[in-house]
């Protein structure tokens, strides 16, 4: 239903009015349009009045650029959902739903794939929302900025689900005092903020623990900041050196993945058991003996998934350097159209949809 997103949007509107940042809208129709603007209601991004309302009310002509960019985003959204998220879901569901049949390396692979599934699934929905809004000439804010390129958990939360992170920061963390009242207060505020974040994601204990894990990661990173820096320097790895960048990025992904295993597990106890099996079960041969092909995703589907992930990686890297849509729009028709048609038919043929598949709901639609 998207109630969680809807509620946060309403709360931010009311808090902003109460704090005098914005004036209350007197026109019921305008208010209703803001609060129920359909592309983003299901899974965000969670907009602020000051960002979305002016665009909604100013009126927009139908423009080729908007239509083109909107459809590009829709196409990219379908690519993310059907070529990555729903393919990865087949394997992820097998491992998580049949635990303890699959342990050790299976859990590691499922954890990695779930991290990617959750990201692409959520990104797909937001991209579709942005694309549909763009058709009307309305720009919704980005909700992700390549979170798995983050070098710390703190940075991760500046790049992941940006509208929620901003909401929690502006309406929970800062009002609690943020980091201005000493280290102990800062840690308390972090714990409370991520506790609320966990609660927002669901009622189960596992979500609370997942939220706590992220708070503890940040507190731990803060505590070991100085000795860790000394260690890096001793190893001749200054801040911006490539090995350190790779190491810190991979490290961040690893800790995030561990938390996602708890997040995805069917219960907290199952999640803990799965994490335990990562260190207690030794079965690396499953990477080589074809066992991974027995998890519901046959070889050719694996190939499509890996190629799609490579495309996602390449696009993400390019996006850090240029606005890809601008680059595509500048190309000649004879380059643009084949790109579109190739993407459309690749998804049409190889996407995970139709009979024989259980369509996966958008994961964040459940929160």
């Amino acid at each position: 239903m998207g109630l969680a997103f809807y509620t946060l949007q309403m709360l931010s509107y009311l808090i902003d009015i109460a704090s005098g940042k914005i004036n209350a809208e007197k026109n019921l129709a305008r208010y209703a349009l803001y609060i129920s603007f359909f592309p983003q209601i299901l899974q965000g991004p969670i907009p602020r009045w000051s960002e979305l309302a002016p665009q909604l009310f100013e009126g927009h002509e139908i423009r080729e650029k908007n239509l083109r960019e909107g459809l590009q985003l829709v196409l990219w959204g379908f690519f993310l959902k059907w070529m990555i998220a729903d393919k990865a879901a087949i394997l992820v569901n097998t491992v998580f739903d049949r635990f303890p049949s699959y342990q050790g390396v299976y859990v590691l692979i499922a954890g990695i794939l779930y991290s990617l599934q959750l990201y692409t699934d959520f990104l797909a929905c937001v991209t579709l929302s942005q694309g549909i809004a763009q058709l009307f000439g309305i720009s919704l804010a980005d909700n992700f900025r390549h979170p798995y390129f983050s070098r710390s958990i703190r940075e991760f939360w500046r790049r992941w689900h940006i509208s929620l992170s901003r909401w929690l920061k502006d309406y929970v963390y800062i009002p609690l005092g943020g980091s201005r009242r000493g280290t102990a207060q800062k840690y308390r505020n972090l714990l409370l903020t991520f506790l609320i974040s966990g609660l927002w994601h669901g009622g189960g204990l596992k979500f609370l623990i997942w939220g706590m894990m992220h708070a503890i990661y940040q507190i731990a990173a803060s505590v070991i900041y100085a000795p860790r820096n000394r260690l890096y320097l001793a190893l001749q790895m200054p801040e911006d050196s490539l090995p350190r960048r790779i190491l810190s990025t991979l490290g961040t992904c690893f800790w995030v993945m561990l938390a996602w295993i708890i997040f995805r597990a069917n219960s907290l106890s199952q999640g803990m058991e799965m994490l335990r099996s990562l260190v207690t079960v030794w079965n690396p041969w499953v990477l080589f003996d074809g066992s991974l092909l027995q998890l519901g995703l046959p070889g050719k589907e694996w190939n499509v998934l890996l190629v799609s992930l490579a495309i996602l990686f390449a696009v993400s890297v390019l996006q850090t350097r240029l606005r890809l849509r601008d680059w595509i729009n500048q190309q000649h028709l004879m380059i643009r159209w084949p790109i579109y048609l190739l993407a459309i038919f690749a998804i049409y043929f190889m996407g995970t949809y139709g009979e024989g598949f259980r369509a996966q709901d958008f994961i964040y639609g459940a929160f």
Binding site: W337, I344, F345, Y353, G354
Partner: protein
């Protein structure tokens, strides 16, 4: 001026969008054609696509006889025999597990362009076959028959009936086949990319020749006692039979019910069909019934490809029996038909292949190879001359083999196109689409597209491949005057 430029810009954009849309629709059509399963007579023994699409390509009002039914019908009745020997322009519109529901809607479809005087309806699907399905057939077989049907009110009606009676079926996927078949990209093969080649070949007009001889030995035709009980029709089947009967009556078409030799038939099913035929003034020909069966000289072990489908010789016997029956009961004065005239060469090619499989003497086998319109691969080691009779030796010498030397050869339509004495040879055939690898070291090896096809043995290995029909015809080893 600015307004004019803006208008021109919008017109240009709309034009580009239209061109893109047209291009997309064209590619979309191609994509759907690529996704749909291909069941064409050229490369498949179960040619539902050819049989159904082929009926649209027949010359208008050119049919005297239309045959409907399951695979038991389309493997049994040869339109070429009915035309050549009984003067009837017949077409076999059978499809796999074709339930009376499908027969009814395909009859309606065929009658849009044809006005046959006789409709032959094979009866096995009136009785429970796929018992867990409401329409007595599987979803996959339903798709095979219904997907090729052109869009019309008739098809919509057929789909509505499917949806009404079988809630497990997804009607949307009949409209958007990608929902059902988009997974097929994983099994794409040559057929999927040569659709136009497959579509032009329907020379057998619906008949599918099965080449195996694997019928069971202890088959007994049925003997119907006067007081034999009758079997129940499967649910809904009688309803569609009634509709077929009514439609034929309305169009003044003679409807003949026919049962083919089949282990699934019984005195009870015979009695049911007989009762139905009597009460509706129809004719019923049971080729499974003892008297008729024996009169045909049918031998289930020799004339069947399996426990329910006749092979080529079985089909010849059944077609002649049907032809005689129809000719005596309802003589049809059929005219000439180009489809039947043009199909004769292809039919003859099929009979040549069938005849080759029946050869038991090496000399006769080699003679047949010289006449056969196929690709033949031979491989033998240097001692080849010790293992064959003089006349086979003469045949091989004509091809270029020399005593005390290993030899390999590739023949196209009886003529050597490549030969040599090397231990290993490789090359391509079918205009480069397929490859072969031959080894003349014992045991000889002949691999086509990476798959070993030579029969194990110490003699002369021969592999015969039909390049047109893209299939292996035979693989034998000639040794000491014996074909193995």
């Amino acid at each position: 001026m600015e307004h004019f430029e803006m208008k021109e810009l919008k017109g240009k954009t709309a034009g580009k969008a239209l061109i893109f849309l047209l291009l997309f629709v064209l590619l979309f059509q191609g994509a759907n054609a690529l996704l749909l399963p291909k069941n064409y007579a050229l490369t498949s023994d179960w040619p539902a696509s050819s049989n159904t699409e082929g009926v649209y390509r027949l010359e208008k009002n050119s049919l005297d006889l239309l045959i409907l039914g399951s695979s038991k019908a389309y493997t049994a009745f040869v339109p070429q025999i009915l035309y050549d020997e009984y003067g009837m322009r017949a077409y076999n519109l059978g499809t796999d597990l074709q339930s009376p529901h499908m027969s009814y809607y395909w009859l309606r479809e065929a009658l849009k362009r044809q006005s046959p005087k006789i409709v032959v309806l094979e009866t096995s699907m009136f009785f429970p076959v796929i018992t867990d399905q409401p329409l007595n057939t599987s979803e996959a077989m339903m798709r095979k028959a219904m997907d090729p049907m052109r869009w019309s009110f008739n098809k919509l009606h057929a789909l509505w009936e499917i949806y009404r009676l079988d809630k497990t079926q997804n009607w949307k996927s009949y409209v958007f086949p990608n929902l059902r078949f988009h997974e097929r990209w994983k099994e794409w093969n040559e057929d999927d990319f040569t659709l136009s080649e497959l579509r032009v070949h329907n020379e057998l007009l619906g008949w599918s020749p099965l080449m195996e001889k694997s019928g069971i030995d202890d088959f007994r035709p049925i003997h119907v006692e006067p007081l034999a009980a009758s079997a129940n029709f499967a649910p809904y089947m009688e309803m569609y039979l009634d509709r077929i009967t009514a439609l034929c009556r309305e169009r003044s078409i003679t409807l003949v019910l026919v049962t083919t030799p089949d282990t699934g038939a019984s005195a009870a099913t015979h009695r049911s069909m007989e009762n139905y035929a009597k009460s509706n003034s129809l004719h019923f020909l049971d080729l499974n019934e003892q008297e008729c069966y024996e009169a045909m000289g049918y031998d289930f072990a020799e004339d069947n490809a399996d426990f329910e489908h006749p092979n080529v010789s079985g089909a010849q016997k059944l077609s002649r029996r049907l032809g005689e029956y129809l000719y005596s009961e309802y003589p049809v004065q059929g005219g000439q038909g180009s489809a039947w005239e043009n199909g004769r060469t292809y039919y003859s090619h099929i009979l040549d292949e069938w005849s080759l499989r029946g050869k038991t003497v090496p000399e006769h086998y080699c003679e047949a190879l010289e006449e056969l319109a196929c690709t033949v691969f031979l491989a033998m080691d240097k001692n080849w001359a010790d293992t064959v009779t003089p006349s086979v030796q003469a045949f091989l010498t004509r091809l270029g083999a020399e005593p005390e030397k290993a030899f390999w050869a590739v023949l196209e339509n009886g003529v050597p196109v490549s030969a040599g004495t090397e231990k290993e040879a490789y090359g391509s055939f079918r205009s480069g689409r397929s490859r072969y690898e031959i080894s003349t070291t014992q045991p000889c090896s002949i691999a086509l597209d990476g798959r070993e096809q030579a029969k194990e043995g110490k003699g002369i290995s021969i592999v015969i491949y039909d390049s047109l029909r893209r299939r292996l015809i035979d693989s034998v080893c000639l040794q000491n005057g014996v074909i193995r």
